[in-house]
């Protein structure tokens, strides 16, 4: 099983399910760092806050993927490779091209159409399937049900990274607003805007509750552990003892959402 670093895969799952993680890259000026390898998340956000110019991000190269697939080909006949939505990054495309250069090894590349932990959930779905075909079928069936509700501390990063698109029309940028975004159907859509963080978190939870039952659910954050606890407490009221995973947003996604972003990630039933 292969995914990329934007899945925000918890370390424990990686070990438990044997998942390969291919890093995307962050570029500060002419320095390139591999996500979560050359730089820890904490180091990254520290550097982001201090940077006069925002870093840029890039997908892994096809060669990066080829190297991973070649290594796997020594022990396995095939793999499923689950990646960040093609509308957001060229990663899945790089995986496809990389796979073609490895002969005799079957690679099923899946465009998750989403970002962050729903990808990690899809990896679990795949890991629990008895066969590769079954894994691909189960994962693809769930792709349309993946959702990310994100509450950003500021729109600045999304704007500068050019990923704002139609979101801008609703949000407006004069006041310091806390936008709530929904990643769904290959789109990032603003669904709400709130003036203060505490109320915005409550509203994000309300939006989640309106979505109905979920198969998997988690909370992700960029250096906001305190707020995660609060959201988890609120989610508990609805979810009872259903497992709530917690993930940390890495450097690449962090470049676009900025520090203090929090999100509720889930796969709808």
């Amino acid at each position: 099983m292969v995914t990329d670093s934007t899945a925000d895969l918890p370390e424990e799952w990686r070990a438990r399910y044997g998942i390969e993680v291919v890093p995307l890259k962050v570029l500060f000026g002419d320095q390139t760092f591999r996500d979560r390898i050359d730089m820890t998340d904490a180091e990254f956000f520290e550097r982001l806050a201090a940077a006069s110019k925002l870093p840029t991000t890039s997908a892994p190269s096809p060669g990066d993927f080829a190297a991973v697939y070649e290594r796997l080909a020594r022990d396995f006949e095939a793999c499923i490779s689950i990646h960040i939505g093609a509308q957001l990054s060229a990663t899945a495309e790089a995986a496809r091209v990389g796979a073609q250069s490895v002969e005799g090894f079957r690679v099923e590349v899946v465009d998750s159409e989403t970002v962050t932990m729903p990808m990690a959930f899809l990896c679990r779905v795949a890991a629990e399937a008895p066969t590769l075909d079954e894994a691909v079928a189960r994962v693809k069936a769930r792709v349309p049900n993946c959702r990310v509700l994100a509450l950003l501390d500021t729109l600045r990063y999304l704007e500068m990274g050019g990923r704002l698109g139609r979101a801008q029309a609703m949000i407006g940028t004069m006041l310091d607003l806390k936008p709530i975004l929904l990643v769904k159907d290959r789109e990032i859509k603003p669904i709400d805007r709130v003036r203060t963080k505490a109320r915005a978190m409550g509203r994000m939870v309300e939006h989640f509750r309106a979505e109905g039952p979920v198969e998997y659910v988690g909370v992700v954050h960029a250096q906001s552990a305190g707020e995660v606890d609060e959201i988890v407490t609120q989610l508990r009221k609805t979810l009872g003892d259903q497992e709530i995973a917690v993930g940390q947003i890495g450097c690449v996604l962090g470049t676009h959402v900025g520090p203090k972003a929090v999100g509720i990630v889930y796969i709808k039933r």
Binding site: A169, M170, G172, T173, M174, L175, D176, L177, K189, I191, D192, R193, V194, R195, T196, K197, A198, R199
Partner: protein, 546 residues
């Protein structure tokens, strides 16, 4: 005015027309006095101006009319006042005209009894138009005027002038009693402004009729007659440019400046002291006005607005809107806002059309109607953002084929809070509900200077003091902005709040802003403070607390 009997036992169209035009002149001559009767000592007392503009709009079509039936003149007055209604008193005045027009429907002339009945019905209509009628206001004055008219009409040899005289006198007595009916008037030591405005209108009607009867007659006016200075110079070729400035100098002769400015335009307001005079005029020749005023002293805060651009601006917005994709929910937004910075904020948050106005000049129903019609949407959310605009805004829905959803925002912070909650993907009903809830959640603090000594809400205020209003209620007075704001925040209880947004007005200096900011941060370190450029007049600072 041909075939009327000399004793004027009846009122026909021509006589009613003359009476109305006379009332405009008398109110124009005295409207500043009405303005000064503001209960709160805030520098935006404008009841007199609002009533005058409403009355001018009422007679606009009448000037050209040759109708001899009183019903036709009354209908024109009713329609004109409704379209031009500004401020609460203006709207109530329009309802008075409406009630009068209904009462005289189909009648060519009124005998004294019919005239008195029409006055009574006018008062009834005004009561019906208000949600919670309050005694001691223009409503009481209208009712007492009607009662006095009815008593006079029951006299055996009653005449129309006698009925109007009784109504004017009844109004005057009722105005004097308003402080005993309303605590806030008593505390402030003033009579009700709207009621006084109505008294002036009735007196003006009486004067013009009496002059007809016997040109030499001395009118029974309680105030020195200034009406001679004011011609009934209503606009013929449009309103031209709204020109405003302050003249700074020594020994300025307010009366002389006023007389000269009056010859150059309409809606003239010239007020002030020998050292500082404020001028407001609608003129076709702003450069001439400026040149003239420059001869008296140094000009400050000069602003010239092309009033016909309002129409043009709306057309531009229409063109721009046509180029924009329709909002998914098909709901437009119109907001009443004054101040460049605040206008930008409302636009950035999604307002399709802005009606300029608010604290200094309340927009008319017609201004808001134009803006609503200018949007490309069939459903339009309207936000008045000022308590004194709400009543005029309520009339808009009945004048357009569009669906108008009124969100009764009382302040700029309420308007911004509501607009932030707007979601283009959600239907009108859900948006209105969410926006109302958000508007109700935010607290407004407004900071300005007292324009006169007063007592209000148990507080002694000296002219020039910094005063702080929480949700439109005067709560604190003090020496500087920071002190008053901190007291106001203390009263709200900062524990329940996260964010203070400071909208900086055009009167606030960098130093004042800096000291206000640091005072809030020092006293309430848990609150986030955000500063936005509002550029609003009269209020150096408006704060939203949420």
């Amino acid at each position: 005015m041909a075939a009327r009997d000399t004793r004027m036992t009846t009122v026909d169209g021509a006589l009613f027309k003359r009476a109305l035009l006379g009332s405009v002149g008398w109110l124009a001559a005295n409207h500043e006095e009405v303005n000064r009767l503001n209960v709160f000592p805030v520098p935006d007392g404008d009841t007199g101006t609002n009533m005058l503009l409403t009355l001018q709009s009422a007679v606009e079509d009448i000037k050209e009319s040759q109708a001899t039936e009183v019903s036709k003149i009354a209908r024109l007055a009713s329609h004109g006042s409704l379209m031009g209604a500004r401020g609460n008193s203006g709207v109530i005045l329009s309802q008075i005209f409406r009630g009068f027009a209904r009462a005289v429907e189909g009648k060519a002339a009124l005998n004294p009894k019919e005239l008195a009945a029409a006055f009574e019905e006018a008062a009834n209509a005004a009561y019906r138009a208000v949600n919670r009628p309050t005694e001691g206001t223009i409503l009481t004055v209208a009712r007492e005027a009607g009662r006095a008219a009815t008593a006079a009409a029951s006299q055996p040899d009653a005449t129309a002038p006698a009925v109007i005289a009784a109504a004017a006198n009844g109004a005057r007595l009722a105005v004097q009693k308003t402080p005993s009916q309303l605590q806030i008037l008593r505390d402030a030591g003033v009579v009700d402004a709207g009621g006084f405005g109505l008294q002036l209108i009735l007196e003006g009607m009486l004067k013009s009729i009496e002059e007809l009867d016997s040109p030499a007659a001395v009118t029974a006016a309680p105030k020195p007659v200034k009406a001679a200075q004011v011609a009934l110079d209503l606009p013929e070729g449009g309103w031209g440019y709204c020109t405003e400035f302050l003249i700074e100098g020594e020994n300025l002769d307010v009366e002389r400046i006023r007389t000269q400015i009056e010859s150059m335009g309409n809606s003239v307001l010239v007020v002030g002291e020998p050292e500082l005079v404020k001028v407001h005029v609608h003129t076709d020749e702003p450069t001439k006005v400026i040149a003239l005023a420059g001869g008296f002293g140094k000009l400050q805060r000069l602003s010239v607005g092309d009033m016909s651009t309002q129409h043009r601006r709306i057309l531009e917005q229409e063109t721009a809107a046509a180029a924009q994709p329709q909002r998914p929910n098909g709901v437009g937004i119109v907001a009443v806002v004054a101040g460049r910075g605040l206008v930008d904020i409302f636009k950035a948050l999604g307002a399709d059309a802005i009606v300029e106005g608010g604290q200094t000049l309340n927009p008319s129903t017609q201004d808001m109607l134009h803006a609503v019609e200018s949007t490309q949407y069939d459903t339009v959310i309207l936000m008045p953002n000022n308590a004194n605009v709400i009543l005029a805004a309520k009339q808009v829905g009945g004048l357009t084929a569009k669906t108008v959803e009124l969100i009764e925002t009382h302040s700029i912070p309420q308007g911004i809070a509501a607009l932030v909650a707007f979601n283009p993907e959600r239907d009108a009903h859900a948006n209105v509900e969410a926006m109302r809830a958000e508007a109700a959640r935010v607290q407004t603090i407004e900071v300005t200077h007292a324009v006169r000594d007063t007592r209000s809400n148990g507080l002694r205020v000296k002219k020039g003091d910094v005063i702080g209003l929480i949700n439109e209620k005067l709560e604190f007075a003090g020496g500087d902005y920071a002190e008053v704001v901190n007291k106001a925040l203390g009263k709200l209880g900062p524990d329940g709040y996260e964010l203070v947004t400071v909208y900086r007005g055009e009167g606030a200096s960098d130093e004042e802003l800096a000291s206000l900011e640091s005072a809030i941060r020092d006293s309430y370190p848990a609150l986030e403070v955000e500063v936005q450029q509002g550029d609003q007049q009269h209020y150096p600072f408006i704060l939203s607390v949420e």
